[in-house]
Symmetry: C2
Subunit: 302 residues, 2 copies
């Protein structure tokens, strides 16, 4: 079924209110906020939302305030027609497509800021980025008032930021993290993958490949420092890679681990995350691992 295309906040609110009034006992709203140029990762979020909720709202908004100077705001890829087709096939009921003027009609004086979990990883290399994310997601949550919102784990730090924000501000929404969707050869899906030349595309496989060794390496008893060294060595083994970061942090609080302790003995979930530039394109990928489970595999193998 073709979703409704809505471009204004007022019409969107009216539409959602009408849905909620139609059957108040079965009126849960699922929400998938995106910047468009949809791929199978987005589609997986939409399908999950459509199966969980009576109404699924997709937003497509390339949010200017989360881009820094010199970042790819102007050339961020867009394809509204194809996006609407993907949304329809994945079960979206409403596609919200606001213009910048609709979301930011005047000089904004309010910001939502999240500290601590924003200090490392992408927060360190993209200053202000997560304030822009937190602010626009707060706005979208206030506009859609969803019961559940779906985010891909590829942006693991974004999920940590939004989960912290939702908890701190008592926003009445359940955040549902969903698995990373990959190409058959392992490349994590991203709208930015279209920027890659064919040689860069080939070399970019080093992100998922290096991360795929992490569980094995941990079983050897290595520390966080050693893990980062191995990741960086493997990534630097391809000629076009320019590493932005490779880090091991506890999840979801995104704190550094004890650097001298074998990772396998850490009693928290670990996020191993990398960001690498290929030419002008910056790619990210990550693995979330529970050392207890990695350890259990060792015992089992023995």
């Amino acid at each position: 079924m073709t979703p409704k295309i809505i471009r204004t906040i007022a019409v969107l609110r009216k539409e959602i209110a009408a849905f909620r009034m139609s059957d108040p006992s079965n009126s849960s709203v699922g929400f998938v906020p995106t910047m468009g140029y949809l791929h199978e990762g987005h589609a997986s979020l939409l399908r999950r939302s459509a199966s969980d909720n009576g109404l699924t709202v997709l937003s497509i908004f390339v949010n200017p305030i989360q881009f820094g100077p010199g970042e790819d705001l102007d050339k961020y890829p867009r394809n509204e027609t194809r996006d609407i087709q993907v949304a329809a096939e994945a079960g979206a009921d409403i596609v919200f497509l606001p213009e910048v003027k609709e979301m930011y009609p005047r000089q904004r004086v309010t910001n939502v800021t999240v500290t601590d979990v924003t200090e490392r990883l992408c927060g360190a290399s993209r200053p202000g980025h997560f304030d822009g994310v937190a602010t626009v997601v707060t706005k979208l949550f206030n506009i859609v008032q969803p019961n559940r919102a779906y985010f891909g784990m590829k942006d693991a730090q974004q999920i940590a930021v939004i989960s912290n924000m939702v908890q701190d501000l008592n926003i009445p929404v359940e955040i549902i993290p969903c698995p990373i969707v990959r190409e058959e050869d392992g490349l994590a899906l991203s709208s930015r993958n279209v920027y890659l030349t064919s040689e860069e595309r080939k070399q970019a496989l080093v992100l998922s490949r290096s991360l795929s060794h992490v569980a094995d390496w941990m079983q050897e008893g290595i520390t966080a420092i050693e893990l980062v060294q191995r990741l960086k060595a493997e990534i630097n083994g391809v000629s076009l890679a320019d590493i932005d970061y490779a880090e091991v942090l506890t999840y979801p609080d995104l704190s550094p681990t004890d650097t001298n302790r074998p990772l396998i003995k850490v009693e928290k979930e670990l996020l191993i995350a990398v960001a690498v530039r290929f030419g002008k394109t910056r790619l990210i990928d990550n693995r979330l691992l529970n050392p207890a489970e990695v350890g259990a595999e060792v015992c089992f193998a023995k």
Copy 2:
């Protein structure tokens, strides 16, 4: 009727949801956030809410994050029993009385900040104050999800901050500013008035008295600078007054006016606001004037 006393967010949400389900077509919720020690000003907000809405929620929470170091957090006056009685008489249906641990259960990493309208008046003399206000009001709005929220114009800058925040973050609530309530002798009601000695209480009348001359002075064609001089001279005429600020700003954007132009010719609403310390007690008061209306009175008088 005695209001329901609720101390946890979960129970409050359940209670409000039940009210909304009971009659979805007539389910508007009015909200009056306060720090307690209620006076007739608060009661006037509650009565207005009770007449506008099907359910009126009063919150009483002395919000630690809006107090600076050395401010009166620890000695802020409290009287829960009397507050509940005032709430009952003024028509509150629910009194929400959370502990600090209920509102801030863990180290908070999220802040709502408002720039620009927070730079002058109380924002200048109480750094961080309005971030604390914006953050707690966002939390309370997310918890109560009111249709309308009621604030007294005595805290005119607070209303400007919250109105800007609601607009920027698309919070689905209508902000209703309500008139300042005064004692018969003119003193604006404030929970902090109980701090005053009887001599301070007497001298504190200089706030409302000096503000009562403003319309007359404007008719003489004075500028903002001259108005501030006259206000300060009158306030300094009482021995115990220690002026924090006396300012003239446009409302609701809180920008300075052209200092060389007669105020009577300014084509915007004007907020004339003062803050004065008496001993350890800091009092505020203000007048909101439309120069066009002041001017019209002059023409009419001729």
